[in-house]
Amino acid sequence: MPRRDDLRTILLIGSGPIVIGQACEFDYSGTQACKALRDDGYRVVLVNSNPATIMTDPETADRTYIEPLTWQVLEKVIAEEKPDAVLPTLGGQTALNLAMDLEHHGVLKKYGVEMIGARAEAIQRGEDREQFKSTMEKIGLDTCRGRLVKSLEEAREILSEIGLPAVIRPSFTLGGSGSGIAYNREEFDQKVQRGLDLSPVSEVLVEESILGWKEYEMEVMRDADDNAVVICSIENFDPCGVHTGDSITVAPAMTLTDRQYQFMRDASFAVIRAIGVETGGSNIQFAVHPDTGRVIVIEMNPRVSRSSALASKATGFPIAKIAAKLAVGWRLHELANDITRKTKACFEPSIDYVVVKVPRFAFEKFPEADSRLSTQMKSVGETMAIGRTFKEAFQKALRGLEVGSFGFGCDGRDLWGTPTQPSIDDIRAKVARPDPDRVWFLRYAMLAGLSIEELHALTGIDRWFLDQLLQIVELEQRVRDAGSLQSVDDTTLRQAKQAGFSDRQLATLLGEVELDVRENRKSRGIVATFKAVDTCAAEFEAETPYYYSTWEDEDETPPKADGVKRVMILGGGPNRIGQGIEFDYCCCHASFALRELGIESVMVNSNPETVSTDYDTSDLLFFEPLTSEDVLNIADRINPDGVIVQLGGQTPLNLARALAAAGLPIIGTSVDTIEEAEDREKFRELLDRLNLKQPASGIARTLEQARKEVSRIGFPSLVRPSFVLGGRAMEICYDQSQFERFVAEAFIVAQGQPVLIDRFLEDATEVDVDCICDGTDVVVAGVMEHIEEAGVHSGDSACCIPPHNLSKQTVSEIKQAAVNLAKSLGVVGLMNVQFAVKREGSEDALYVIEVNPRASRTVPFVSKATGVPVAKIAVKVMVGETLPEQGVITDPIPSHVSVKESVFPFVKFAGVDIALGPEMRSTGEVMGVSDNFSLAFAKGQLAAGTVLPETGKIFLSVASPSAKKSMVDLARRLVKLGFELIATSGTAEALSQAGIEVETVKKLQEGHPNLIDHLIDGRVQLIFNTPRGKGARTDEGRIRAASVLYGVPCITTLPAAEACVRAMEALRSEPMRVQAMQDRFMAGTASIDR
C-alpha cells in the first residue's frame, strides 16, 4: 500500500531548545521527516522554537513557524494552516506531550486533525506507568516487581515478594527527595517510614532493585501491515542504575546468546503491538539479571528517541525518515534501503564493526551539583566512535570526547605514575561510584592489579567489557616495555593501533613526539584504512559513502574523480555548553553551499546527534574523532583541496595550527589571522591603528605577572584563560581576595596557555556583531543588542535584532568598527565581534571586547532573523566567490524584531545558584519574533519556558543601591498591572518610601514563614532577584535555587526584569500572533522604523 492520498498537509512538531535529554537528535529526525514527507508531495507545516536548527531553515518545510511550543500557540498554527494530520513522534518528548495536550484540549477534534504515527491511546499506554505495567502483564512480560503502599506493614508484605535490596520512592516529593535503596531490613523500615512521612499523600513506591543488572535497548520499527524489524540492539556498558543517556553504550549487543537476543526481539515486538504503536519507531529498554537471565521490561518510548538517532548513525539505517514514510502509509518493503539502493528497508541491519557512545558532562560548570550518575540524565552531549573491535571504538570514543584524553589513559591527563597517582582505596571507592571519571579509574584499578572478578563485583560491568579493557591495558604495557619507538616490533605497533591507541598515547608511552610516531609507523606501512558503514556487513554494495577508520588491509575510500574538488569540513564534536548545535548548523550549511558549487563535501565529525553526521548531508562522511591524527589520516586518503576549520567552534580551530603545519590547505581566514586576533599585543596595535577603544587589559603567564597586571588594570576586572570557549573559568573580581581565588582556577583551566585579565565595564550594554568578509568587502549580517548587561556571558544573555535601545548613530559606529576590523585582519569568511557600549556622560563610548574570526554561536539566529543564509555565503567566500559575485552587497535590515533567549539546565542540577555570570551555562536557545520588541521578548520568554504570570504576587529584591531607583519604577508598573508585591525588609522599605504598597517577608535567617515557605505554598508567581553575592550557600543563592525546584520563574538581572515588565504590559494590550517565516521574508527585507 503506497502513501495515503487523503492527507495533504501535515503538521510536524519540533522539540524546542537544546536541553539535557533532548538535543540535536531531534533536529536530525525532524529534518529527515520534513524531507521524506515533502518528497512524497505532502505540504509540511513545522513548528519549533529553536532557530539553531536545520529544520527551521526556510527550505526545509513548506511553512515554518519559529514560535513558542505551547498547545495554545500550536492551536493558532492549526487554525491558520488547517493541517490534515499531526505527526508527533519525531520531536522528542516535547512533541509527544504537546500532541497529547492538543488532544486533551479538544483542539485536534475541533479542527479535524488526525494524529499519525502513534494514536493518543497508544501514547498514553506507553507513558502511563500503571497502564504500561498492566499491559506488560497481560502479554506475559515481566516488569519491575513492586507497588505503591500506604503503610509500613504493607511495605513489609511486598518485601517478601521482591527481596532486598529494594528501592523506595515517596510519591509527589520534589526532586525525588526521600528516594533510596535499602540493603537490609532495618534500612528498609527506616526508609519506608521516612518516605511515608515525606510524601504529602503518605504513599511510597516499593520496588525490587535492578541496580547492577545488564541494560539493553532495542530499536524497533513497525508498519501498518504489522511488519516489524529490529534496527539495532544496544548494550549498556554501565549496568542499570545509570540513565542510558549517561551510560557508555555499545552497539550491537555484545554479550547475549542468540536465544537471549531472540527472546528480547520477540518481547520487543510484543510490546510495540500491545502498546499499539501502529507505525514508526519505538525504543524498548530491558534489564537482564546477570546470573539468572531474568528479563524485565523497563520502559518503552513510543517515538523516535535519542537512542534511535544513535541506532541510525550506528547502522546507517535512517529511522526517522522511514518512520515518517510509514506514518503516511508506506510499508517497510515498499521503501528502498538508501545505503544499498538495491535492497529494501524491510530488513535488519547487520553490522561488522562495534560502535561505542560515550556521554559528555559539564559538571565543571556546576561545581555545586552532585556528579553521581543516576536515573536522571545529566550529560550535555555525546560522542560516538566506530571500530572493528570494542577496544578500538572505545579508545576512539574517549579521544572523541575532547576532554584532553587521547584514549584509555597514557596521555597528558593520566595520573598513573605521577605523584598524584590514586591509592588503591581511592580506586576502589571511585570505581564503585558511577560518575564521569569512573572510566579512568577502571584502568587505574587494572594497573593496580584488581582482578576482573573484583571489578565486576564493584561495578556490575560485564566481565567481557572488563576483559576488553584489560586487553588494552596489557597492550599498553607491551608497548611501554618495548622502551623505545625503534624497539617496538611491527606486530605490537599494529596491534596497538588496531586496539585504538592514538599516536599521542604511543608517544607518551615511548617518550616520543607524536609526529615522530606518525612518521615511524607510516614508514612501516602502518596506516589507517577506511571501511564503509553499509547496513549489511558487506553483503551488498554500498552506494552511500559513510566511513570509519581502522587499521586493516583493505581501504574502501573512493578515489578522487578527475576535475572534482574536495573540501573537508571539520565539525564540532560532542555537544557541550558553549559549543553545540549552532556550530553543527554552520557545518551543514557548508556542505549545502559546496554542493551548490559542485564541490565534493567531506564531513568529519563524531557527534551522532547531528544533522552533519546524517548520511546524505555531505558527499563523503567520516565518522571520526576530531584530533589532528585522525584528521590527517583521513586527509592522507582523500587529498582535500581545502579544509574548513572556522565553522565547528573551538574544536577545529584548536587543530588548525597542527593541520596547517602538516601541509593541509586551510581555506578562508588564515591560521595566522586566527591567532593574531587571539594575540593581545598584535590586537592592541590593530585597535590603536583603527582608533578603537578596548577595556584596559593584560596577559599573564604566571601568577606573579597576573598580580602585577591586575594592579595596573584595577577592579572590577575579568579573569579568564585563553583558548577556551563558553567562558570556562571566567570570573569577575571585585577585589584582591576574589582575584586570588579565581586566577588560580583560571591557570588550571588554561593548561599552560596564558590567562587574560580585562577591566570589567560595569553597567555597559553588550553588542554582538556577525559579519562576512571576502578579504575586500564586508557585509554586516547582524547587530545584536544584549538584554543582560556586560558581564553575563554572551551565550547566556538574551539578545535582540535589530538593537532595541541603541541609537542609530551608535549602531552605525558599531558596524563601521566591525567592517574596519574585518578588513584590517584580512578575514575571509565569518567574523564575530563583541562590543560594550558604555554611557559616558552624554555620549555612548564603544569598546571592543573581543574579535573571533570564525563562526559564532549566533550565526543561525542571525540567519533566521534576517532571512540571509550567513554560513552558506561565508563558505562560498572561502572557496573564492566574492560577496559581489554572490550578489551580497548590502547589510540586511530585518522588517521585524527577533529576540534570542537562552535556556538553562538548572532543573537537572538541584541546588545550583542560577545567577548569570561570565561563565556560560545555557544549553540551548529559542527565538521570539514579532513586530515589536516587547512581544518578541514575551514570546522568547514563553518559548524558553518562563511563563510570565498575569496575576498574583511578585517578589522583588535588588542588590545594588544604584539599581533601587529603577526597581521603584518597575514596582510601580507592576502594581499598575495589578500584581501584589512582596520583598524583604530593605527593598520593602525603599518601596514603601516611594509610596508603593508591599508586603514584607522574612529573610531566610529570620525564621518562618520566609520566602522559601511562600514558594513551597505556591504564593509567589515571579521573582526578580539580582545578585549581590553568588553561590548556593548564600541566602539569595538558596532562593534562586528554590525557584527552580518549585517552578517559579526567577529573573536575575535588572535589564531582563525591565524587559519582562515591558513584555507583560504588551501582552495586556495585544494578542500573541503567529506568522510563518516564509511570509515574513516574502516581501524581501524592509527597513524598520524604530
Partner: protein, 380 residues
C-alpha cells in the same frame, strides 16, 4: 601467538592468528552475517565441509553452552573471525569458543581483515580456500586452495546423515525457558502446544535439532530416518506427514532423496526446509542453481505472497531453485526481498510445501515459526 593463514583459489591471502584446532583444512569459503548464534551455526550440519567467516567482528563473547547445539558435533571445516574472545561471559556459558573448536577439531583463524575477505567473496563469488595453522606459505596455500575439491557436484549428505532410524522426543526449550511467541493479536504467550498426536517421519539429510524440537512442540511424534530411506521405508511407518530436512552440499547430486520425495508426493503431506525444499522442487521437475555467494545470515527479508507480510528469516544456502524451471504443478509462495529468488513453493494439487529458509531459527529470528503450525494443520 601462533600464526595461521587463509588462502583462496583466486590468490587472496591473509595471515592471522591460530585458534581452535591446529591443522589444515580446505573447503568452500563463505560468510554469515548473523551477529549472534555462532554456536548454533557451528553445529549446523549444512555447513559440512565449509570454511565459514563471521562478518560480526567479535565472536565468542558469551562462550558456549550445552543448550545451543544443533547437532551431535561441529560440522564445519574451518572458522574465520576478526577476533575470538578469550573469555566467556554469560550465565549460561560452560566454556570458551577456543576450547570448543579445539575439542571438536575445527581449525580457526582470527585477526584477519574479515571484511576484506567478505568483499572479495561478494565480488568474485564463492570460492574454495584453505585455512592452516601448519602451513603459512602463501603460494603453497593458494595452490592447495586451487586443488581442493569444489562444492558443486559433491554429496555431503552422506557424511552427515544418521545411519539408523531413531525417535526424537525433545520439545523446544530444553533449558527450561519456554520459547514464547507473540501471537497474531500481539500477545506474548507460550507457543501453541498440540495435544493430538500426529506421526511425522523426518528424513534427515543433516537435520538441525531445533526442527525436530519444533515438530515435537507441535504435538508430533517424530521418527527420524536416514536421508537415503526409500519411499516404501517411509510409508511403511504409516506417517501422517513427512518432513524433509536441511542438509549440506549440492542438491543436484542427492538423487536418492529426489526419487524418494517423488514417490511420496501425493501420498502423504510433505513439508521441506532448505535442502528439503530443493529436493521437493527437483522431485516435481524443477532444477537448482548455485548462487553467487549464497544467503547466510539472520536478516534475510522474505515476502509471504499469500499474506503480503514480511518475515525476517534465518538462512543458510548456497543453492536455490531456478525460477524458469518451475513446473506448472508448483507455485511460488515466498520470495526473497533482496534478490527476488524463490524462498518457498507449494504443490498446486497435492499437500506439499517447502521453504528455502529456516523457520526453526536457531540461530535467528522466530518470525517464521508459524510455518510449523501450518504443517501441523496440513496433517489434520
Amino acid at each position: 601467538m601462533a600464526q595461521a593463514a587463509l588462502a583462496l583459489e583466486d590468490g587472496t591471502f591473509f595471515l592471522g592468528e591460530a585458534f581452535g584446532h591446529r591443522g589444515t583444512v580446505t573447503g568452500e569459503v563463505c560468510f554469515n552475517t548473523s551477529m549472534t548464534g555462532y554456536q548454533e551455526i557451528l553445529t549446523d550440519p549444512s555447513y559440512r565441509g565449509q570454511i565459514l567467516t563471521m562478518t560480526a567482528p567479535q565472536i565468542g563473547n558469551y562462550g558456549i553452552n550445552p543448550q545451543d547445539v544443533e547437532s551431535s558435533h561441529l560440522q564445519m571445516a574451518g572458522f574465520v573471525v576478526r577476533e575470538a574472545s578469550r573469555v566467556a561471559s554469560n550465565f549460561t556459558a560452560t566454556g570458551t569458543l577456543d576450547d570448543y573448536l579445539k575439542a571438536a577439531g575445527v581449525v580457526g583463524i582470527s585477526g584477519i581483515d574479515t571484511r576484506a575477505l567478505v568483499r572479495q567473496i561478494r565480488i568474485q563469488g564463492a570460492m574454495t580456500g584453505v585455512v592452516s595453522s601448519e602451513i603459512l606459505h602463501e603460494e603453497k596455500l593458494v595452490q592447495m586452495a586451487r586443488e581442493a575439491p569444489k562444492l558443486v557436484g559433491r554429496d555431503l549428505v552422506q557424511e552427515v546423515m544418521p545411519s539408523e532410524i531413531s525417535q526424537w522426543d525433545e520439545p523446544l526449550a530444553s533449558d527450561g525457558t519456554p520459547l514464547r511467541q507473540p501471537t497474531e493479536g500481539g500477545e506474548f504467550l507460550p507457543a501453541p502446544q498440540h495435544t493430538g498426536e500426529k506421526h511425522v517421519v523426518a528424513l534427515d539429510y543433516g537435520m538441525k535439532w531445533n526442527i525436530a524440537r519444533h515438530l515435537v512442540s507441535q504435538g508430533c511424534k517424530v521418527t527420524v530416518l536416514p536421508g537415503n530411506a526409500t519411499a516404501n521405508e517411509v510409508l511403511h511407518l504409516k506417517p501422517d506427514g513427512v518432513f524433509l530436512s536441511n542438509g549440506p552440499g549440492d542438491p543436484e547430486v542427492v538423487d536418492y532423496g529426489v526419487s524418494t520425495v517423488r514417490d511420496l508426493v501425493g501420498k502423504v503431506p510433505i513439508f521441506g526446509i532448505c535442502l528439503g525444499h530443493q529436493l521437493l522442487a527437483q522431485a516435481c521437475g524443477a532444477k537448482t542453481f548455485k548462487l553467487k555467494f549464497g544467503h547466510r545470515g539472520a536478516n534475510q527479508p522474505v515476502l509471504d505472497l499469500d499474506t503480503g507480510r514480511v518475515e525476517i528469516t534465518s538462512q543458510n544456502h548456497g543453492f536455490a531453485v531456478e525460477e524458469e524451471t518451475l513446473p506448472p504443478t508448483l507455485e511460488v509462495t515466498h520470495r526473497n526481498l533482496n534478490d527476488g529468488t524463490i524462498e518457498g513453493i507449494r504443490h498446486k494439487t497435492e499437500a506439499a510445501a517447502s521453504v528455502q529458509y529456516h523457520p526453526e531459527a536457531a540461530a535467528g529470528p522466530h518470525d517464521s515459526s508459524p510455518l510449523f503450525l501450518r504443517f501441523r494443520e496440513m496433517l489434520n
